[in-house]
Amino acid sequence: MQAFSCLEIGPIFRALSRNKVSALLIALQIAVTLCIVVNAVHILLERRAQMARDSGIDEANSFYISSTGFAADFNQQVTIQTDLDAIRALPGVKDAMQINAIPISGGGWSMGLQTQPGTEFDGVGTAVYMVDEHVLQTLDLELIAGQPFQDTDIRWRQGTQRDWPAQTIVTKALAENLFPDAQYQDVVGKTVYINDDEPILIQGIVDKLQAPWVGWNRVENAMLSPEKTLFSTSTYIIRTEPGRLDELMPKVEQLLADSNKGRVVRGMRSMNETRERSYRRDQAMIKVLSTVMITLTLVTALGIVGLASFSVNRRRKQIGTRRALGASQGSILRYFMLENFIISSVGVLLGALLSLGLNVVLVESLGLTRLHWYLLPIGMLALCLVGLLAVLGPAKRAAAISPAMATRTV
């Protein structure tokens, strides 16, 4: 086998040099295809990884709904208390609370926390969730250090109030961002500053809770502030027993609408839908890129089939002659496969360079990350295989040419 190949490479090169342009065209096609495919897969894997991140809450069994009062006698504080008592009493509701912003929904509130007081120090950005003592159960958080909120910790925040409650619970990621040198357990009991110089005591650490903005580079930073809000719109987040979400969503909506006619109940959405909306662009990008990759590979493969069939047809007489002179069917097949393999190899080598080039451009102009090194060899191997598969058909037809062809004129 090895000996045969060595013997055949000479004629293949001579034949190729006679048809430089066709061979070059295929090699170029393979190169650009590899370049697109490798970079598309890279983007696709990156998006996948982003989408796979856990928001920290029980998404499958959670939903939220907002209420905006408009009647002249509408009492926000009484309404919130009544609503929460009624929702929590519904069978199938695991827990519920008022919250100022919904994780991964795209809209929320952020603040800077700093470890030293003073306007001259930079803060660490974090999302703020205003929550009550039901937070751990409602959001499915695990308190991994410190103390939970008690009902006596919870205050009412007026619409334009500026000061902050004296204590907070932060995510592990935020604790580590604030105090990079400390163990997260040791962050409990430390004081940080909000609004430049207002002290807040960190009384607990939770495992994980994402900010509302999935594209934010600090998306794991969140702080819980023990307060209920008296803003014009209040939003409730509700966690149900597993599997009872669909049944409870309309019930809660009805309950709120019926209990108080002086308000508009709106914006009810499950967390699953919220996730779908927040990552919709990434999901779409993944689908578009996959379609492009598959079609492109098909186009390239069809091009190879077309050109190979053509070159087989043109060489029918030579092939017949070779067969008549004693070449086996296998060696004809091998000839075409090897020819294609040489062209593909040139193509993928060129393509590897192009891929790296395009990646550099994408990194610099659009802030993408660097290509993972292992994508290149996998892509190169895959495209060589596609080339070989594409040429298999025409090569088999070539091998089937009868030796008698040598005696015919055309």
Partner: protein
């Protein structure tokens, strides 16, 4: 002669149906993919108000933190404080000007059976409508006096009017909004600039608002903040007024400046204004005022999504692959015809004539590919629209420009792809091909 070439092209295409179909398919796929992404990019970067985009300017002044810019490297905040928005409006130094904000309130339709609903509000000044040439279905804008008097007047979007008044002319009727009685002064006809340039702070492709009302009602009725609110300094007191007086930015402002002289004057005025405010202890940063026209502002706010750019580049490379493919297939096809070409040469056809003949053939294939590509692009846009849902509602329609562009692109591409194969085919010596026969 041309029709003869067309007939020859037809015959040649029929002789090699599979090769020809492959070529048409390759061009169609390339054109389809690139037209899809070109359309999305074209609409994203479209000029939403072409006839006066160079006379409308977005106003920025740098009221931000002395220790760090609102955005690196040294960008002023993308919105204004209430203080600056109202001061600049009171100065009236531009021929037309409109500060604005977004908000929301509950609307209670007069019909007792209709449910109250929450509606998005654009708070602005009367110049908004003349500056942006908004079309009116009924009535018209309120006037400057009503702005100053904080009158409770409202303009409805067409959809809101359909919902609340069943589409009838509501001018003069009263409507309860945010617990107050408002008088309807106008209804907008369909108006959806793409991008929605006048406020892109929460995304450039949102719908226009349901209600429009005088800006100063925000203060009078204590309407809530919409959009993004950013503060570098905590407000100095706990009240709605305190918030309005704070250094928090939540307001946008546009001015219409018809020529360079008025623009220069307005910049001078802004410098003067900021220096005045510095004397009052505000504006701790160096002077950094900006006037950006519509397209500059869209560029600054990076309205074209990065994903759309990536897709555009990838699809253009895709088109390249399809063209390389076509060149290869054409080479194959034309060299299969070498005996016919030899014959035609031998009986007197000139090279130029043969060149034209084959160019006509490639152009036919290109045009067929282009038409099929347009259909694929329509499919592609439908796909994009279903994948992105409401985010892409206004970004996936093919207009006539794009259709013509697609056909031209496919013609140019196929002719470029055909040049080399045609040239090679025409270089065949007449005798060499006749011998083997």
């Amino acid at each position: 002669m041309f029709s003869y070439y067309l007939r020859l092209a037809y015959l040649s295409i029929r002789r090699n149906p599979i090769l020809s179909a492959l070529m048409v398919a390759a061009i169609a796929l390339g054109i389809g993919a690139s037209m899809t992404t070109i359309t999305v990019n074209y609409l994203m970067s479209a000029n939403p108000i072409p006839h006066k985009s160079q006379q409308l300017f977005y106003v920025q002044v740098d009221s931000w933190d002395p220790n760090e810019p609102a955005e690196e490297p040294n960008e002023p905040p993308d919105q204004l404080t209430w203080t600056d928005a109202t001061n600049l409006m009171a100065a009236q130094k531009a021929p037309r000007q409109a500060a604005m904000a977004s908000s929301a309130a509950v609307v209670e339709p007069p019909d007792q059976d209709a449910k109250p609903f929450n509606a998005g509000i654009r708070l602005t000044f009367s110049d908004f409508f003349s500056m942006f040439d908004t079309p009116f279905l009924y009535g018209g804008p309120w006037d400057a006096q009503q702005d100053a008097n904080k009158e409770q007047v409202v303009i409805l979007s067409r959809e809101t009017n359909d919902k609340v008044f069943g589409g009838e002319n509501p001018v003069g009727r009263s409507l309860r909004i945010a617990g107050r009685q408002f008088t309807v002064v106008g209804v907008l006809a369909d108006w959806q600039p793409v991008p929605r340039f006048y406020d892109v702070t929460t995304g450039a492709f949102h719908e226009t608002e349901e209600l429009f009302m005088p800006f100063l009602l925000k203060q009078a009725l204590q309407l809530p903040n919409g959009g993004n609110t950013s503060c570098w300094k905590t407000p100095e007191e706990d009240s709605f007024e305190g918030f309005l007086r704070s250094e928090c930015v939540n307001y946008q402002m546009w001015v219409e400046l018809p020529d360079t002289q008025t623009k220069q004057d307005y910049l001078t005025f802004l410098t003067h204004y900021v220096n005045e405010q510095k004397a009052l202890g505000r504006f701790p940063r160096p002077l950094n005022n900006r006037l950006s026209d519509v397209m500059q502002w869209m560029e600054n706010q990076q309205v074209v999504a990065d994903d759309a750019k990536v897709m555009l580049w990838l699809s253009l490379m895709f088109l390249t692959v399809c063209l390389l493919n076509t060149i290869g297939l054409l080479l194959a096809k034309f060299s299969g015809k070498s005996s016919e070409i030899g014959l035609r040469r031998a009986i007197g056809a000139s090279r130029t004539a043969l060149f034209y003949q084959h160019l006509v053939e490639t152009a036919c294939i290109g045009l067929a590919g282009g038409i099929a590509g347009l259909l694929l692009a329509l499919l592609g846009l439908m796909g994009i629209s279903s994948l992105y849902g409401e985010f892409a509602d206004n970004l996936t329609s093919l207009d006539l420009n794009m259709v013509v562009f697609a056909l031209l692109l496919s013609l140019v591409c196929s002719i470029l792809a055909g040049l080399y194969p045609t040239w090679r085919a025409c270089n065949i010596a007449p005798a060499s091909q006749l011998k083997s026969q």
